[in-house]
């Protein structure tokens, strides 16, 4: 008590050293986490799909399979259910290479057409148009749904291709999608991209996806 000592709390060098330590260590942790995460979110292989081994991001050939989205009791959220039944896109099973090329075209088109500045993908993007994360599973496109009837097509993928090529011809809402000059090939790529995206394990986002669709069909509260 004899002499008043300067406090560490007002010492610049204490804060500088602490800042350097915390910043450095947080950065190292982030890099470590990144290595771990990237190894988990690499696309799986076709063999893994065939054997039913779960990957967060399945191989492009997932577009050959039937995809669902079901509540998982243990995890407390919805997870994608892949196969084992096949449901090839456009009725034709693709080789790993063909599937990869189609997905590549789809992803390129998604970027070149700037989808993300109206829609959200995995919840990121703009909020002017519906989220596309699970668009492949949206009841709007299902058998007996309004989009197949409107486009006069008999399958989800054909209806999607038709809509993507001429969105201005199908007035779905006052807020219509513009015609972006998407070719048939590009549209097929986009459909492959959307189907692949719906198979990604998003930890249950979006939650309760289209759970009330039965209400529309049965004339429930919001039935049109």
């Amino acid at each position: 008590m004899a002499e008043k000592k300067a406090s560490v709390w007002t010492s610049i060098s204490f804060w500088r050293r602490s800042a350097a330590w915390v910043t450095g260590f947080a950065t190292i942790l982030l890099i470590w986490l990144t290595f771990d995460t990237i190894s988990q979110i690499r696309m799986g292989t076709d063999e893994e799909l065939a054997k039913g081994i779960k990957r967060r991001i399945p191989a492009p050939t997932v577009i050959n399979y039937k995809i669902g989205y079901k509540y998982d009791e243990k995890r407390g959220l919805e997870v994608p259910v892949i196969g084992p039944e096949k449901n090839p896109l456009f009725g034709k099973e693709l080789s790993p290479k063909e599937a990869k090329n189609l997905l590549h075209l789809g992803k390129l088109t998604e970027q070149a057409k700037n989808c993300m500045d109206c829609h959200t993908l995995l919840g990121n993007g703009a909020y002017y148009a519906p989220d596309l994360t699970k668009a492949w599973l949206d009841p709007m496109w299902a058998k007996g749904g309004p989009m197949q009837a409107m486009t006069g097509k008999n399958s989800k993928e054909e209806a999607m291709v038709e809509f993507l090529m001429h969105p201005d011809k199908y007035p779905t809402h006052a807020r219509m999608m513009p015609n972006l000059g998407i070719t048939e090939k590009e549209a097929k790529g986009l459909v492959a991209f959307l189907k692949h995206m719906s198979s990604i394990d998003t930890n249950g986002f979006p939650r309760g996806f289209s759970k009330t669709i039965k209400d529309y069909e049965t004339g429930g509260t919001y039935a049109k």
């Binding site: 010492s11 610049i12 804060w15 602490s18 800042a19 915390v22 910043t23 947080a26 942790l29 982030l30 995460t37 990237i38 979110i41 690499r42 696309m43 967060r56 991001i57 997905l103 590549h104 992803k107 390129l108 088109t109 970027q111 070149a112 700037n114 993300m116 500045d117 109206c118 995995l122 919840g123 990121n124 703009a126 909020y127 002017y128 989220d131 949206d138 009841p139 709007m140 201005d168 807020r175 219509m176 513009p178 015609n179 972006l180 000059g181 070719t183 590009e186 790529g189 990604i200 930890n203 986002f205 979006p206 939650r207 309760g208 996806f209 289209s210 759970k211 009330t212 669709i213 919001y222």
Partner: protein, 479 residues
């Protein structure tokens, strides 16, 4: 602001270059607001400019003008403080720095023209290289990415070698280290992958580690420098605060990145990391807030004790810094915390909630202090001893702040409605989305957002008029 270069032979070349950057920044700010008004109107009247200038185009230019005007103002602010902090009037390669300015401005002009007139390309690599990369905020095509990297390297080299040659203050040390991280991070967003999860993983490295880490530290350094200039705050105190802010901002912000990795295909362990680290992100913002008000009070106390009147040498700068302290805490801190926990975020992710947070955070944390730095620049190049806030300046402060707050509240209400109806009640499908968008409460909120957008724009006009005239007026009244 326009004539500031002609009549200022005595002003350091670094500060002249700063003013050049500020001028482009304010033009781009105006472009940002105009695009926002168009996009907002399209929510209410979807047929407005349909297939001529679609929402996606307006929105793309809206957010890119935002990022670019802020980068311009940040580069400008750095050149502004460089001579004062290093004691060197002329950066080592000022000629190259000026060339870089013109190259960057030409590149930005070309990118914007391509965005506006070409808009989208075919699904080929060439579109990514020359038209549009299609990744929110990072839409700039690849050629521009590379150009930006080169220009930023020139800027960084200029700052770095000037720093090495001159005085090494704490403020400048933080600035130089932080700028390196800021510039380097851009590289993480420059490649193409078919894997949307990996795509968004690295995309967030750029976006998050910019706006929630390096940009925030940048704001801390600007506030430190400005407080010394505007109210004569003591350097030791300001620098101590700066290190505390670096500690807390990077400590929470770097791993706070996890809150973007909840739903993009990444493992579940990010829930915890993202939740708790990002929940701490508001803490440094409280600290910055306390620090600004504390120093202001302290210096005013000193001035009063010596009968010196106001301690503030630059009224508008101090006002904008104070709004920054509030706005950063409110917009980035509170509005961010609203939806940062995964338990909430699973419903709010990708809704108007995000838009509400984005508007107040970008304004509160960045726009405010950068406008403050523009006023500081004007004061310095005109050689004004004490600069008072004019009527136009006050109108700008009031209308812009009120307008952005109004937009934020409106978007928050829209987001609340969207989250409960579209997400919780109906489950996020196509029908659910449009059912929520059609509800009267949602449309009312979007209407208010547009009205408040107009208020903000009127405030912006006052701001431009004030920036153009305040220097001259103050100089004339001195003579």
């Amino acid at each position: 602001m326009l004539s500031s270069i002609k009549n200022s032979a005595a002003v350091s070349p670094s500060k002249q270059l700063a003013m050049m950057y500020f001028r482009v920044a304010i033009v781009l700010f105006g472009a940002q607001l105009l695009m926002g008004l168009i996009a907002g109107l399209q929510f209410l009247y979807p047929s407005f400019l349909y297939e001529i200038f679609d929402f996606s185009v307006a929105r793309m230019v809206h957010i890119n003008a935002l990022v670019v005007w802020m980068l311009y103002a940040m580069i400008g602010s750095t050149y502004l403080m460089l001579p004062d902090e290093t004691g060197i009037d002329k950066p080592v390669a000022i000629g190259l720095g000026k060339l870089a300015f013109w190259v960057l401005t030409a590149a930005v002009a070309v990118v914007v023209l391509v965005f506006i007139f070409i808009q989208v390309g075919p699904g080929k690599e060439s579109s990514i290289w020359f038209i549009n990369e299609g990744r929110e905020y990072l839409e700039a095509p690849r050629w521009a990415d590379i150009g930006i990297v080169v220009v930023v390297l020139i800027f960084y080299a200029n700052v770095f070698f000037t720093y090495m040659k001159g005085k090494k203050t704490g403020i400048m040390t933080v600035m130089v280290a932080n700028l390196m991280a800021l510039a380097g991070l851009y590289l993480a967003g420059m490649f193409f992958t078919d894997n949307i999860s990996i795509d968004q993983y690295w995309w967030w490295w750029v976006i998050h580690l910019w706006v929630e880490a390096t940009w925030e530290v940048f704001v801390g350094t600007l506030a430190a420098y400005a407080l010394i200039k505007v109210i004569d705050a003591k350097r030791e105190i300001v620098e101590m605060w700066l290190w505390i802010e670096v500690l807390m901002l990077f400590g929470s912000g770097i791993l706070g990145l996890g809150h973007h990795y909840f739903w993009i295909g990444t493992p579940e362990y990010w829930w915890e990391i993202g939740a708790l680290f990002s929940a701490l992100e508001p803490v440094p913002l409280v600290a910055m807030f306390v620090h600004v008000l504390y120093d202001w009070g302290k210096e005013q106390g000193h001035a009063d004790a010596h009968g010196k009147g106001s301690a503030i040498k630059n009224g508008p700068t101090m006002a904008w810094i104070t709004i920054n302290a509030f706005g950063n805490f409110l917009g980035a801190g509170i509005w961010g915390f609203f939806h940062t926990l995964p338990q909430v975020n699973i419903y709010t992710h990708g809704s108007q909630f995000t838009a509400a947070h984005g508007h107040l955070a970008f304004f509160g944390a960045y726009a405010t202090i950068l406008i403050g730095m523009m006023y500081l620049g004007i004061q310095q190049v005109y050689g004004i001893e004490r600069m008072k806030t004019t009527f136009k300046g006050k109108m700008a402060i009031f209308l812009i702040t009120f307008g952005v707050l109004g937009m934020t509240v409106a978007l928050t209400i829209a987001g609340y409605e969207q989250v409960l109806v579209e997400r919780a009640e109906l489950g996020a499908g196509w029908q659910a989305f449009f059912t929520a968008q059609n509800l009267p409460w949602y449309i009312q909120a979007q209407t208010w957002r547009e009205i408040m957008g107009v208020v903000t724009f009127v405030g912006f006009i006052y701001l431009v008029l004030d920036l153009l005239t305040i220097g001259k007026v103050a100089q004339e009244s001195k003579e």
